[in-house]
Symmetry: C2
Subunit: 411 residues, 2 copies
């Protein structure tokens, strides 16, 4: 277990006012809308120390601490959020909310459709990253926060960060998009679509109407997750983790049972995923990622940040991330620079592939910590009452390889 | 249609003598064994001008010309095999046979098990690349050829080439392994396994016993093929072929229908594949690829070629091939060099990913042609009777982009 944790936390819920239907980019509207969220640390007197953390595809609002008093239910970014950590909860008020369309307490396809009294299934409207973020804006309003000191996140979390900076620039001082992109390349869309096709191919999916059925589309969802898992790793990290080692065998069995360690890993994690994630949410959230495209409608990525020149950026990519390769971040940095935005960029040397954003904790702690220190100085952010500064900590007891075991649950 | 074709061809069949059961690496034996094969050109007087072409995962014996008088049924390597082409059928006697375990006429899981009178299904024994090649050795014996001038092939075809050179060196003068590897990395095994899991997940697969059922595991096989298809392309080639273009739409439909061109492409090709390939064969052939490991049993790749010092190698990889990245070929070249083998290596600059071995025809024609010219000189290979030399040709009317449409069917 890591040290310097925020300790026991509980998820909170915010339901939008019923007389204000939430309008979506598609033109449809959604009501009621509930967001699950967690907060760590305390707001300072002028409410200027709030940081919003945005989660990736299968993440939740539970980013730090342990849930419901259960020390095994650690937050997905526990390594980076806590007292003295990168996002120092002694100094900052840290918020994380589950995106709409997901299945961790925010309104999604498994929620009850008030029109029918049954789960939405495919009647749930398609949501976008823009919709996810506009829901977060309402949460920030609800929490009485005028301007976030920072919005940060990796992967799909990074897309939300970019959406905040581009379309709600007056609400953010700084943005930290990590291992992400301003739009999915065709290869990314292709991997998403294969995952969706694996779910569609499962007869138990039943066009999304499986919530009252004895069988769920677990087989299809597991295959989708296995495809995803490959893309989160790198050739090098797979070589280190698995090589061509056999799972408890001396030699080939010449049969179709699981034999190689990497097969066992994929199968185990694919099936484990079905116990915590909803297949329809997988469809909706991946679709939102595919739709995300900050170059639209003008065709210029720089134009997206025309009103964001006051937002300070820290852009981070990882050299072995082939899902969101560094060139995506470099294009983003070029566009930000062209727009006249203050941007710091680092392409972190790492062998862990896309998962590096969860694993390169020491580097991330230094990078994020220094960037936030600078913000505190420049924006004159005061600490909450009772703050006692102490040295920055990283969870040094956790090795990068051990962390990969954690990351298996989190990306 | 390409010029300089061998024209109408027909597939031939060779069934091994029944009194000699074919022993497999697994320890099991198989009988009867039939190989489907095609030949193009003529043997010369001393039977020294024979070239064996080995096909990839979903290929067949039909490598050149048009089958059964149907000009639309072009061979999978039509661009490289024919009069005046890289494998010049005026000079060489070119052979291609379907691997055992496949479904194009050679014995495989869809063949009738003589023990039950029904298709084998999963009762078919697991075969290896070594088994595939030993079956080819018997075919070459049957054709009365003592030594092949050359064995050539890409992807899994390249593995067979390496197997020939390492384990049957006395039967080959030269070897051309293209876009291949001496063993699958864990990432390659992972992609194979996800494809297999997609098939297992399809209830219609029925543990391989679907041949007499109304429904075949087409949904699972299509997903497996979609995963494969992504790995055959490159980010750059997908950008050129699809970008983020929508399929016949002006704007997002906010629904789960196929919208992006790349989705449509994957879905179309995935389902088209189910009309030409057998799901069980997909399992067996991918398993053979995963098992292939020339570093075994000694742990040294160089040791595998200890008896192959007389075999001349031309090794080819492609810069954008991330399925069999260039470093696999470079490791192979290092091992061959360490073993004292005569090896020429080229890492061809290409944006077409793994499919480049089917698409970079001009470069391949020059490379292969020059290498074979050298062999002809050094081995004093005579031309068949009636040979009239003419200029080397490439199918110049076919652009690389147009060829990608062909490649969709072939890899």
């Amino acid at each position: 277990m890591t040290t310097n944790t925020v300790g026991a936390v509980s998820t909170q819920y915010f339901t939008f006012a019923e007389d204000e239907p939430f309008c979506l980019e598609s033109g449809e509207s959604l009501s009621p809308v509930t967001l699950a969220y967690e907060t760590y640390g305390a707001l300072n007197a002028d409410r200027s120390n709030a940081i919003l953390i945005c989660h990736a595809l299968s993440g939740s609002a539970h980013a730090a601490g342990y849930l419901d008093g259960d020390p095994t239910k650690l937050g997905w970014w526990e390594d980076c959020i806590g007292p003295g950590k990168a996002f120092d909860t002694d100094r900052f008020f840290v918020i994380c909310s589950n995106v709409i369309g997901s299945c961790y307490g925010s309104t999604g396809p498994a929620s009850i459709d008030p029109g029918t009294g049954k789960p939405y299934g495919l009647n749930f409207p398609v949501v976008t990253v823009g919709d996810m973020v506009r829901a977060q804006v309402k949460l920030i309003d609800h929490l009485g926060i005028d301007q976030l000191l920072c919005v940060a996140g990796g992967s799909m979390g990074g897309m939300q960060v970019l959406e905040w900076a581009a379309h709600h620039p007056q609400r953010v001082h700084s943005a930290i998009p990590i291992a992400t992109t301003a739009h999915h390349s065709p290869m990314l869309i292709a991997f998403s679509e294969v995952g969706r096709q694996a779910i569609y191919a499962d007869p138990a999916w039943n066009h999304g109407a499986y919530y009252d059925q004895p069988q769920k589309p677990d087989a299809g969802l597991a295959v989708a997750r296995m495809v995803g898992h490959i893309t989160y790793l790198s050739e090098e990290s797979m070589q280190v983790k698995f090589g061509r080692r056999l799972q408890g065998l001396e030699k080939y069995g010449y049969e179709f049972d699981t034999e190689f360690e990497v097969e066992s890993y994929l199968k185990y994690n694919g099936h484990k995923f079905t116990r915590r994630f909803d297949a329809n949410s997988y469809l909706y959230v991946t679709k939102a990622m595919d739709y995300f495209d900050l170059t639209q409608p003008t065709g210029s990525l720089a134009a997206a940040f025309a009103d964001s020149t006051h937002v300070k950026f820290l852009v981070i990519s990882f050299t072995s991330d082939w899902l969101y390769p560094s060139y995506h971040s470099k294009q983003l940095v070029s566009a930000l620079t062209a727009a006249g935005v203050d941007v710091t960029y680092l392409d972190v040397k790492s062998s862990w592939g896309h998962d590096a954003f969860l694993l390169e904790v020491d580097t991330m702690t230094n990078l994020l910590g220094s960037f936030l220190d600078r913000l505190v100085r420049e924006e004159h952010v005061t600490a909450p009452a009772g703050y006692i500064p102490h040295a920055r900590v990283t969870p040094a007891t956790t090795t990068a390889l051990a962390r990969t075991q954690l990351a298996d649950n989190l990306a």
